[in-house]
Symmetry: C2
Subunit: 348 residues, 2 copies
Amino acid sequence: MSEGTVLRSANRSPLTAEETVITASSSARMPKTVRELGEFGLIARMNAGRTQAPNVLLGPGDDAAVVAAPAGRFVVTTDMLVQDRHFRLDWSSARDIGRKAIAQNAADVVAMGATPSAFVVSFGCPSDTPVDFVTELADGMWAEAERAGASIAGGDVVRSPLLVISVTAFGDPGEREPILKSGARPGDIAAVAGLLGWSGAGYAVLAAGNSAADSPSFADVVAVHRVPQPPYAAVLDLPQSAVITALTDVSDGLLADMGHIAESSGVAIDLDSAALHDPVLESIAATLGAEALDWVLAGGEDHAFAATFAAPGDVPAGWRPVGRVVAGSGVTVDGIARNGPTGWESFA
Amino acid sequence: MSEGTVLRSANRSPLTAEETVITASSSARMPKTVRELGEFGLIARMNAGRTQAPNVLLGPGDDAAVVAAPAGRFVVTTDMLVQDRHFRLDWSSARDIGRKAIAQNAADVVAMGATPSAFVVSFGCPSDTPVDFVTELADGMWAEAERAGASIAGGDVVRSPLLVISVTAFGDPGEREPILKSGARPGDIAAVAGLLGWSGAGYAVLAAGNSAADSPSFADVVAVHRVPQPPYAAVLDLPQSAVITALTDVSDGLLADMGHIAESSGVAIDLDSAALHDPVLESIAATLGAEALDWVLAGGEDHAFAATFAAPGDVPAGWRPVGRVVAGSGVTVDGIARNGPTGWESFA
């Protein structure tokens, strides 16, 4: 692509005028850094060999992309990831970081009951960033975008002192109304799809040092921490007959995210600890001197789905009942209040 | 709003677990920094009193926003702005930075012939950022979004060692096909709408020191550098009868952006220097020992519009003919090649 806000550099301020980019043609050897390749070469490299999904009516190359919205409306969500805050280069590969950035945005789209249709990505990096790092990051993003049934319609590449990734994800709600957090009613069943606590356990394993990560089950949770695998199909393949009353992505931890459903719906949710046992996590927790239930309830970055269903018979295959909706407010476990979801994020 | 990827914090990694956010309620005085207010308080503050435009069917508060796309498709563009690279805190107010961030994205949407429908914004800042800075930034974003006929449907707030702003803008193309860069044909008239070179001159004035900025005409170009005012209506109010064959946003400079039209269309464009005179710029250039034409051709960040029209009679009011489309490749001025647009960005 030649230019446009679609995977071109930002409109560069004259502030940057002194920073000459050495183009590939000025060097006999293959460019190894972003500076050597230059922004347009980098953009071309990131987009080489990609095939846009059918929803992308116009991909990179003009002032903007064009994406289909057959329902006459679209779902949109955005997340920014900052180096050393949301990912660590010594813990995750470029490909893993790319996959995770897309997965966590796709999960938010799916958490509205919408099918991912496209992504755009803004990316900032230092000029000495290896070109291979950027192409592997793009490979990871494309792999996860395709797993979600979509593609990357465009973006922006800028220079930044540290790596920053901003993903915006779009979804097609189809003919049905988006599934909000606010529809839970007393008597509903609370259920989850996907792995809870594995990402938090993986973080704990990494924090404990590499030797622990050599154990097979330890490696499993580390892999989930590095690349969450949201169970998109658990939502997108919901049977028409299932009455799902509220839905969200579990990103801050089950307690916090069920708390968001409870708060939005004006209800309370009581979780059943017996439904939250996980022998894999309990084994790892015993080794590390941690509590498995803490990871399950508050580990964060699960990118599982939490929902409420109108009746036990509505909970489909792939979903696990974990509690029930009752009158009141807040979230309890076995009827007992833990740290309340309100303000949970403040000291998590 | 309570949560959701819509103006909530990113799913925070356990990496950040040690960083306790002091909530407003824990302090008797008004919170002065983002850390003191906390992310949810900050989000609430940024969104207080805002009214969403009709295209935003669901605003902040759930996992994602919902935006109308009545034409069954939407235009999307994204740009990332990094502190000290795309803006300077000693040159621009928070409000100016917010307006500019939205304006440059809105200009890309309009450069497709689409009407801005909504924006989402991701924002990273240090924890000691004053709350007032963030609310003034949001005020500027909202002011420009409203000038473009839209609103800010959601976003994301994260902690970052430096300020990073990522804007994604959406547009409704209506029933007409998006106007691409690739439709220019020999014989067409090249024309522009908006100010060329004023932003570049404003940069030069700022770089020359504050005393120069005290002159009235100097102040005018500095104001344009701080807050570009894309002439949205020049595109959105184009008469049905006008045959516009190609259109783009002038962000990299007239030479570069006309070059993008020329390259995409497989034509050459010859600009007429007599049409590019600007007495205001020439006066400032004389004082600073600069060349006004350099600012006009390559100053960058104009956020004017460049287009080609099929016939002289198609150039509407508000547009200024500046050259013509001929067979060949590249962009010339009075028939003479200057620095070619290909690779122009590399040493701009």
